[in-house]
Symmetry: C2
Subunit: 311 residues, 2 copies
């Protein structure tokens, strides 16, 4: 038995002599690493840094280090990243990469690693996530365009294996019908990734199909920037010839030519909420899962205007 006084004297002497606790030895004993992994599909997508900042601040305050892994939109990289994080025995994971059906989620469950999805949802039940209300966001966009007088509205959808891709696409169909407008199948294009390049390709395809629309609703801001490129290539002006909307209100969206009408998501707050949820799961393995939905806000800027020919 070591008395309290003796323990204090040992600690004091150790500190005086410059000894430091070895975190590997400590982790070996407690089996906790105080590290959390964050899986990001594409760090160069400006949406993620503000989310990460919210995550990092919240977890840092609680004494956790954030290990970031970037998969560059490659599914195989995600699994490699997860393996690596498991090897480092992270105490929990925040997945910004998750697909609607995702091997990562099955793996986390099998390994009993606490995890939370951010800006993504799973088709499975019992998965904690923090997302924005995509149906409400797209409804606000379509309502704005309809009020301006647009009738023939094209849609550029993100990947349908991502909850944001599917949710905003479904939101668009519902919102159009809500406005009494039938969405035209030939005015809808699908993208393999949320990138400027894919937005460019999709917009070019839609315009090559004869056009006949006065506005494009894009599944996110990067897709909308791709639309800007496609319009410029054909000598079409935004918003005079075609209105364009984005989604996310990524940093500097107000600085683009033209400033982008888009849907603002509270990105930093979303990251912080996901981190708080994860802390709860890490502290209490029996804590119930929770799905949080944050309210988005329409930002009307220069990329939308009345249709030139009545829509």
């Amino acid at each position: 038995m070591v008395t309290e006084e003796m323990a204090a004297r040992v600690e004091h002497a150790a500190a005086e002599m410059g000894y430091r606790p070895n975190p590997f030895a400590y982790s070996l004993k407690t089996n906790r690493s105080f590290a959390v992994g964050v899986l990001i599909p594409d760090l160069t997508n400006p949406v993620f840094p503000p989310i990460i900042r919210g995550v990092e601040r919240t977890l840092g305050d609680a004494g956790y280090t954030v290990i970031l892994a970037n998969s560059d939109n490659q599914g195989d990289r995600e699994l490699v990243n997860l393996e690596e994080l498991k090897t480092r025995q992270v105490d929990g994971l925040i997945l910004a990469t998750a697909h609607r059906e995702d091997a990562l989620i099955a793996l986390c469950r099998a390994e009993e690693i606490p995890f939370v999805l951010v800006n993504r949802r799973s088709d499975e039940d019992g998965v904690s996530s923090v997302v924005a209300d995509d149906a409400a966001g797209v409804r606000a966009v379509v309502s704005h365009l309809a009020t301006l007088g647009h009738r023939r509205i094209a849609y550029i959808a993100g990947p349908q294996n991502l909850s944001t891709g599917l949710g905003r696409y479904r939101g668009f169909l519902d919102a159009m019908r809500g406005e009494g407008l039938e969405p035209a199948p030939d005015l809808i294009a699908f993208c393999d990734a949320f990138t400027e390049k894919e937005g460019f390709r999709a917009a070019r395809d839609l315009l090559a199909g004869g056009g006949g629309f006065s506005a494009i609703v894009a599944g996110n801001d990067l897709l909308a920037l791709g639309c800007y490129d496609a319009l410029a290539d054909l000598g079409l002006r935004c918003p005079e010839d075609i209105s364009v909307t984005g989604y996310n209100d990524m940093p500097f969206a107000d600085k683009f030519a033209p400033p982008l009408t888009t849907v603002r998501i509270p990105l930093d707050r979303m990251g912080a909420a996901a981190a708080k949820l994860l802390l709860r799961h890490m502290q209490d393995a029996g804590a119930g899962t929770q799905s949080m939905m944050l309210t988005p806000e329409l930002m009307v800027r220069g990329s939308t205007a009345r249709p030139s020919s009545g829509g």
Copy 2:
């Protein structure tokens, strides 16, 4: 003594029974974590994600995990982050935060942690770093403006305790004199941080000082975006009334209104080069330090034009 055959049989049996090596036990024995810390001053500055991507790809290929810490431009946070990374016993550090004189550098040296600066240089000798040639970049900008006919050119400088802040400012003075133009002290403003907000404040101060200039050279793209805001506030047009240039060619600089004339730095390549340099230092404690300088490229876009009244 264990024979090779016996070792192989034990390994095989362990694998069959689903045993995995415990990385904490392994790290305790080897005292290597196979983790590298990357200290970032501001993750929401779009310059850093491409640098991090280059770092992450190169280190990931070599079997290292990247631990990212974001200090939000706060010096005290940098020290806290370093302490945390030390606790996690990173094998090396990449510092994108470093000031010209930096306690972090002294600490890394005292602790004998291999480190490399990226996009930053130290005033001290014997520190490995990868930067772009700021003097050449600013010279290209000033030469471009002088060729357009600008004579009275204002400068918005970044923080002088950062090598990029000082180097570009000195580069500006030299480049002006190289063009036979005397830089006017009242046309130079200094900023506390490389942020849009600081650029806005500095540009407003310069314009309130009576103006008398036809172009603003900004120390980086975020400062240039702040100039856009200040000009718009006063009803001045860019480039018709005042030309503006940035530095970095951050993602989407070509999409701004107007598209920003700036200096392109090979950001991803810079990150990869810093990672390679760090790998060499981690593998060989006696490896000599090295300073790499990458060549920047002038990107002429819509934010610069001939002066309206002869400069």
